[in-house]
């Protein structure tokens, strides 16, 4: 029978609901007629004590009940009831279904409204009565964390974690901690706070420093990583609960312009800073006395940090008389606090900014670098002899990063950096729970942002490890060891590195993110994700109401499509085809190709699969897998004599309800056309 177990339905309403087109009393009577079901009508505007009293009386078995709360906008209007159910009566969150009846409104024909409301309730009941509780387990995990890198973000992470009673391994590739303050001269002394931070990292009893360390291999997953590290003395095998990656940026030469290998007057930005810090050793490079000096800065336009750094040294020349300073850039990257003002100030102190589509040509004449370029302002070819030519450097990713991506199974990122370019990861997470990235591991950025990210990463570690006692769901991702054939498909496909094996596949529930890619791909149906089980989906599809047509079954990813669907339904112009049946999925990756074919065997007229846009999937690949399966299913449908156009795959975002409606409209129009034909 479709309603598998005892169910208690609460219709939360006051008299205002009839204003919206649903005959609430009739609905209640119908629901009361469902097998194994009891009904309570409850006005959410009642005082809290009264609500509590009535709920306790109705749900006298306490937490054992499965409760379906149906109302208009229940998350807002019946929030007090939800809180009472969860907090005071202790209903297991998996046993509480919250159903918004909004979708049943808006039909012109009140009979359709009722039918739709009934269907919504029945579908929710079918799914809810097959739900199983998901327990919480407390796991003992090492309260040891590996912080890798020698940036201030790494140092701050290490110190903060150590202060919070974690044991920290701070490994870095160089012989000493040598963090950069990006955008500032390398020779500039550190501020007091930063100096103290670095000192704390050196001296903290809970931090073990590992200089010249390299990560060789990492096994395991969240809460249980086995890291193999190589230092000059030894190879270490360490067990850590989590890791934070923050390898420092490296300065690289900017675009090559055919600069001679070494010429005393062609300097890198770093070399210039060194000279300015010890001018006595510069000879006559910096000019003598009042002789005019021509300084050209070439190409600090990769990032606002490069511009900031160049302007700082340019200022030192601008403050001298008889000094002409030029800045050759393609674009002035002023997108950082204070830079526009700095640039303006430098310009009013005499800085000449030359904006070119490409860098000038360089040659050496009479022992002076000479630049040739087409001046866009004077509109003529110019030739400039410089006394000093300063080549810009780029703040690039650390050299060690490239290897780390492979070793840690991280998703591909912007070249050299460690975090996939996906907004779901913001600010500091990666595809693998327990591995966090901060500051220069992600991008070149200002120090205050890097430190804020270190903060965020430490917070994530603490949320995960709980100082040695981690909480994880138990029974959310379940492998039937009888069915598992250890084909390794799940382990290979898991984007989160959560699957290992002994003689059957094992899912680490602390690392698992419930996307369901494994479950839907398993060739022997050995994995179930609660509570989006095959059982529930099959039961929902078997019980489509034949009176509501056209029958469009929609599989909606909860991270985008489901939100868009809710938003679309609440905009009062949106009326969906009466037979539209939405099924929420944790990720598009959970959508089994089996569901797609079965939908048609159960009489669906069309099937809609909606997932997140490429590069926007929380599990990186869920939408790609969904697309592969849809395309395969379309072939199989055609083989079986079903028009493959009836199965549609689209991507959309949570804030694009109009994309959702466009997809539904497309299908509705298609079905109209097929009917007419």
């Amino acid at each position: 029978m479709s309603i598998a177990r005892d169910l208690d339905i609460i219709l939360a309403h006051g008299p205002e609901l009839s204003a919206s087109g649903i005959d609430y009393y009739k609905l209640g009577l119908w629901a009361a007629g469902l097998p194994k079901t009891r009904i309570l009508a409850l006005n959410p505007a009642l005082p809290r004590e009264e609500l509590a009293r009535r709920l306790r009386a109705f749900l006298y078995h306490g937490p054992k009940h499965r409760v379906l709360l149906a109302a208009l906008e229940p998350q807002r209007r019946a929030l007090n009831i939800i809180r009472l159910l969860l907090d005071e009566i202790g209903i297991n969150p998996e046993f509480l279904g919250v159903l918004d009846l909004q979708e049943a409104l808006g039909y012109l024909d009140p009979k359709t409204c009722s039918l739709k409301a009934e269907t919504l309730i029945r579908m929710a009941a079918i799914m809810l009565t097959r739900a199983e509780p998901i327990a919480t387990q407390e796991l003992t995990v090492p309260s040891r964390v590996l912080v890798y890198g020698d940036s201030f973000a790494a140092i701050k992470s290490a110190v903060d974690l150590a202060d919070q009673e974690y044991s920290v391994l701070l490994g870095f590739p160089g012989p000493t901690l040598h963090p950069l303050v990006p955008g500032v001269a390398l020779t500039q002394a550190l501020g007091e706070e930063l100096r103290q931070l670095a000192a704390q990292a050196q001296a903290h009893p809970a931090i073990r420093l590992l200089p010249q360390a390299r990560i060789l291999a990492v096994e395991g997953s969240a809460g249980n990583f086995q890291v193999r590290l190589k230092t000059p003395e030894e190879v270490l095998e360490e067990q850590v609960g989590a890791m934070i990656l923050a390898p420092e940026l490296e300065l690289r030469p900017g675009d090559a312009i055919g600069a001679p290998a070494s010429h005393p007057r062609v300097l890198t930005q770093t070399r210039l800073e060194e000279i300015l810090a010890a001018p006595e050793e510069a000879g006559d490079l910096l000019g003598t006395g009042d002789a005019p000096l021509q300084v050209a800065f070439l190409g600090p336009d990769s990032h606002p940090l490069a511009l900031r750094r160049a302007l700082e040294t340019a200022k030192k020349f601008l403050s001298r008389d008889n000094c002409q300073v030029l800045l050759f850039i393609r674009d002035a990257k002023v997108g950082a606090p204070g830079l526009e003002a700095d640039l303006e100030e430098a310009a009013s102190s005499g800085l000449i900014v030359v904006k070119l589509p490409g860098l000038p040509a360089l040659s050496l004449e009479n022992d002076r670098p000479r630049l040739r370029f087409f001046d866009p302002v004077m509109h003529q070819e110019e030739s400039l002899a410089c006394d000093l030519l300063v080549l810009a450097e780029v703040y690039g990713p650390g050299a060690a990063n490239a290897g780390l991506i492979g070793i840690l199974n991280l998703w591909p990122s912007p070249p050299g950096f460690l975090q996939g370019d996906n907004v779901r990861n913001l600010p500091v997470i990666t595809n693998r729970r327990g591995i966090y990235v901060a500051g220069p591991a992600r991008a070149a950025m200002e120090l205050d942002q890097a430190l804020a990210e270190a903060d965020a990463a430490v917070s994530e570690v603490h949320q995960l490890l709980g100082r040695g006692r981690a909480t994880a769901p138990q029974g959310r991702a379940v492998i039937d060891r009888g069915r598992c054939v250890l084909c390794l498909t799940c382990q290979r496909l898991c984007p989160h590195g959560a699957v290992s094996w002994d003689n059957r596949a094992i899912i680490n529930e602390l690392a698992c993110q419930g996307c369901g890619i494994c479950a839907s791909q398993c060739p022997n149906e050995a994995i179930q994700i609660r509570n989006f089980t095959d059982d529930q989906v099959a039961a929902a599809m078997e019980n489509l109401d034949p009176r509501l047509t056209p029958k469009i079954i929609a599989f909606l990813c909860q991270n985008s499509a489901w939100e868009a669907y809710l938003a679309a339904v609440k905009m009062h112009q949106a009326v969906l085809p009466p037979g539209f049946t939405p099924l929420r999925m944790p990720c598009a990756g959970k959508i089994d190709i089996d569901y797609l074919l079965k939908a048609f065997t159960h009489g669906a007229d069309a099937v809609l699969v909606l997932g997140c846009h490429p590069d926007n999937c929380r599990s990186q690949q869920g939408n790609a897998h969904a697309l592969f399966r849809v395309e395969r299913a379309q072939v199989m449908l055609e083989e079986a004599g079903v028009d493959p156009r009836r199965l549609v795959f689209r991507t959309l975002a949570a804030n694009a309800p109009q994309d959702f409606l466009a997809a539904v409209r497309h299908l509705a129009d298609l079905l109209e056309g097929l009917k007419a034909a």
């Binding site: 060739p523 074919l597 009489g603 083989e639």
Partner: protein
């Protein structure tokens, strides 16, 4: 392991079209691993057949069951009562399993749902390559771990034919020359001498079919003399 591919749907449909009660039996070992015949594929084939043979046809019944494997009778025997209800059976097991299943259900026609392709390796999900021809005379130790029976398009057992073009075979330019690779492997290993060893010819396709292997420890049990 054994790699198989599901037969084209049109072929399967043609095989079972005359029947109204069809059972699809899957296998949970090799064909499951290569995503051709496990429980999921059984379900997919059943759905396809239901759609193709007519959803409205009330007499159409398609049963689905998957067993651990079909090459052990112990796993098949429990199916005895089950299979009796059906007019035709599709087995998604490899050729061996199909035959064993047929032994059990002599009354109904058994149709293979997959083509057994080769013995191969599982490179990654959905990607398999052939590595072995079951020639019963393995000398991979001599050829640096590369099987010339399988990997050489000409099946040469004793060294290159001289028809290598840039490391690829003159017969099939898509394929690499197995003997070039064998040479380089042996070089790396330090066993180039193996190139001089002559391996006796042996028939890959046996003239006496089907092959039988009885483990030496069990020869008495099965009463064979050696």
């Amino acid at each position: 392991m054994i790699i198989a591919e599901r037969k084209p749907f049109a072929e399967i449909k043609a095989m079972v079209a005359p029947y109204k009660k069809i059972l699809i039996v899957g296998c949970g070992t090799c064909v499951a691993v290569c995503l051709a015949g496990g429980e999921k594929e059984v379900g997919l084939l059943a759905s396809q057949l239901r759609l193709a043979l007519g959803l409205e046809d009330k007499r159409l019944e398609i049963g689905e069951i998957t067993v651990e494997r079909q090459c052990d009778m112990e796993f098949l025997r429990p199916l005895c009562d089950f299979t009796a209800d059906y007019e035709a059976i599709i087995s998604l097991a490899c050729g061996a399993g199909v035959q064993f299943l047929k032994q059990l259900c002599s009354l109904q026609p058994i149709f293979p749902g997959v083509n057994t392709s080769f013995i191969g390796v599982n490179n990654d999900v959905g990607f398999y390559t052939e590595r072995c021809r079951a020639c019963n005379n393995c000398y991979l130790g001599v050829t640096g771990g590369i099987c010339p029976v399988t990997m050489c398009p000409k099946g040469l057992l004793n060294g290159p034919c001289g028809g290598t073009i840039q490391g690829h075979c003159e017969v099939d330019p898509e394929k690499e020359c197995a003997w070039s690779k064998i040479y380089h492997r042996l070089e790396l290993e330090g066993s180039l001498d193996n190139m001089r060893r002559i391996m006796p010819l042996h028939p890959c396709d046996r003239s006496t079919t089907p092959g039988t292997v009885i483990h030496p420890a069990f020869k008495k049990r099965y009463g064979t003399n050696e």
